[in-house]
């Protein structure tokens, strides 16, 4: 299979930008990525993108220019960015276009998400009686996971502490204040065992990538990042997913585990080869679960890894080096591509104060979300 390369990365900073629409933030990110690649919008032959709450991606053409290209709207929840990237890779590989763009953006209202039951194939009582909350699901899944694998609750604090420590080193992060162990451990309960500083916030922002065939990449950049794998998977019967009034008697591996295995197989590498890691951390518990589901440790080992600094920037498994969702917030459509951009920045060795030492060669990104989707990428340094 022919290699595909990322030749441009661009973001609109995550957080809150009053007065600027989600689509305008998406268009900003595309312009930044085009500038980074040194190409013009009218050279782009195909684009995929999406948002959850900020409208259709093809409306970005109204900002960027109506050049007539196939611009496909992607709506895959948290995996929107990953799905867009996988689609652009396939499109370029098929010969559909020389240059492609993947873009994600969003602008969510403040506070927790409030989905409508009918949109998820559920009856009204499920939302009316107070059972349809993403935070509740993450808490129930975390509670069970900590119990099954003997992981102490202090591990939830350590994930958040590292996220905000890394965020403080990232000039683009939304939350740039380090928090102490006690500040996190004593913060307001939201859904026990998860507390205020263990949850990310819905936010705003945009993220975009420009890609082309690896064999052509040096026409545009000295530091192309090779996409070794870009995989998206959905849930199997028996996996523990959000918005489930009932769970099956049997338990099946999560979509993260199947996406991860497929990505390693396609890339021909294993978790021991990865040098820098971005994992979905909508909440502290999710990151703990995802460390094992992506193969970076055994279930139950996380308590020790977090306590002894293994997942810190200078550790053996540097996780969420830009502060992750916890420090950057989660604009759903853009979040997965933010991870890819952070991995590219690390592999280009342009991450400044948060740079992983030792010239990292392989980067790994992982998103997971409703209603049971996951996208994984494996990226290689120039």
């Amino acid at each position: 299979m022919e290699d595909i390369a990322i030749i441009g990365i661009g973001m609109h900073p995550f957080g809150r930008t009053d007065g600027l629409s989600g689509q305008a933030q998406g268009a900003f990110a595309v312009r930044e990525a085009l500038r980074d690649a040194g190409v013009n919008w009218n050279q782009v032959g195909v684009a995929y993108g999406g948002s959850q709450d900020a409208g259709n991606a093809d409306a970005l053409a109204n900002h960027l220019g109506l050049t007539g290209i196939p611009f496909v709207n992607v709506a895959n929840g948290c995996a929107t960015g990953g799905s867009a990237l996988a689609s652009v890779v396939a499109a370029i590989r098929s010969g559909m276009a020389e240059i492609g763009v993947a873009v994600g953006f969003d602008k969510h209202p403040r506070g927790a998400f409030n989905p409508r039951p009918a949109d998820w194939g559920l009856e009204d009582w499920y939302g009316e009686t107070g059972l349809m909350l993403t935070t509740q699901f993450f808490a129930l899944k975390t509670q069970r996971y900590l119990y099954e694998h003997g992981i102490p609750e202090e591990s939830l604090v350590r994930v958040a502490q590292r996220a905000f420590r890394n965020g403080a080193l990232n000039p683009q992060a939304w939350r740039r204040r380090e928090l102490s162990f006690d500040e996190i451990a004593e913060s307001m309960p939201v859904n026990l065992p998860l507390r205020k500083y263990m949850f990310c916030n819905p936010a705003e922002g945009g993220a975009a990538l420009v890609l082309c065939r690896a064999s052509q990449a040096h026409k545009y950049t000295d530091s192309p990042i090779i996409v070794r794998a870009a995989v998206m998977r959905t849930r199997h019967h028996g996996s523990f997913e959000v918005f489930s009034p009932g769970l099956a008697a049997r338990q099946a591996p999560a979509p993260t585990a199947t996406a991860s295995r497929a990505a390693y197989e396609i890339a021909g590498v294993g978790p021991e080869d990865i040098d820098v890691i971005q994992l979905q951390d909508t909440d502290s518990g999710s990151e703990i679960i995802h460390l094992a589901e992506n193969g970076f440790c055994e279930h139950g080992e996380q308590g020790l890894l977090l306590r002894n600094g293994t997942t810190d920037i200078g550790g053996r498994l540097p996780v969420n080096t830009d502060g992750g969702c916890l420090a950057n917030g989660e604009p759903v459509g853009a979040s997965g591509l933010r991870q890819v951009i952070e991995a590219c920045t690390q592999l280009r060795q342009q991450a400044g104060a948060r740079q992983v030492p030792g010239a990292p060669r392989l980067g790994y990104t992982h998103v997971y979300g409703a209603p049971g989707v996951s996208a994984v990428t494996i990226l290689e340094a120039p």
Binding site: E123, G130, L131, K141, Q143, V190, G238
Partner: protein, 151 residues
């Protein structure tokens, strides 16, 4: 807590999920006639074997707490308890593992973390969780901590 579900039908949006047999209140589910997989709530589709021939079945009223949390902030709409931010009462939420192995998501009758532990026996009941704009109470199913002998 209420036991007379028949008189509450107009205020009980979950009535179709419940059975009221000689042995008391129970939950209704469905079972795949092809592969035997059990579902709550009842469904017409089997996501295990991709079949669509399912029969109604009794899920029961007793189980064990499989996971739990406490809902500490007031959910946005479509939550309809009628409470306000100032009088909102946190409530427990859990999954209860039923005899078939199916886990049922449910409100719990207690929101006290010290009173909840994974593995403890739980029993089905009805609770008042709010009231409508016209003042009439709203009820739903819930699970309450039960005696070990009840299982």
């Amino acid at each position: 807590m209420m036991n007379d579900s028949a008189s509450l039908q107009p205020h009980l949006p979950v009535a179709h999920l419940l059975s009221q047999g000689a042995s008391g209140l129970g939950l209704l589910g469905s079972q795949c006639r092809q592969c035997g997989e059990v579902y709550f709530p009842a469904t017409g589709n089997c996501t295990a074997c991709c079949g669509s021939d399912l029969a109604s079945c009794d899920i029961g009223s007793q189980g064990r707490l499989w996971s739990w949390t406490v809902q500490a902030f007031m959910p946005k709409a479509p939550f309809n308890s009628g409470e306000t931010e100032s009088d909102f009462q946190p409530y427990g939420v859990g999954y209860v593992q039923m005899p078939s192995g199916v886990k049922v998501e449910s409100r719990l009758t207690t929101a006290d973390p010290a009173a909840l532990a994974i593995g403890m026996p739980m029993a089905l009941c009805l609770v008042r969780y709010g009231q409508r704009a016209d003042g009439r109470p709203l009820h739903t199913f819930a699970f309450a901590p039960a005696n070990e002998g009840g299982l």
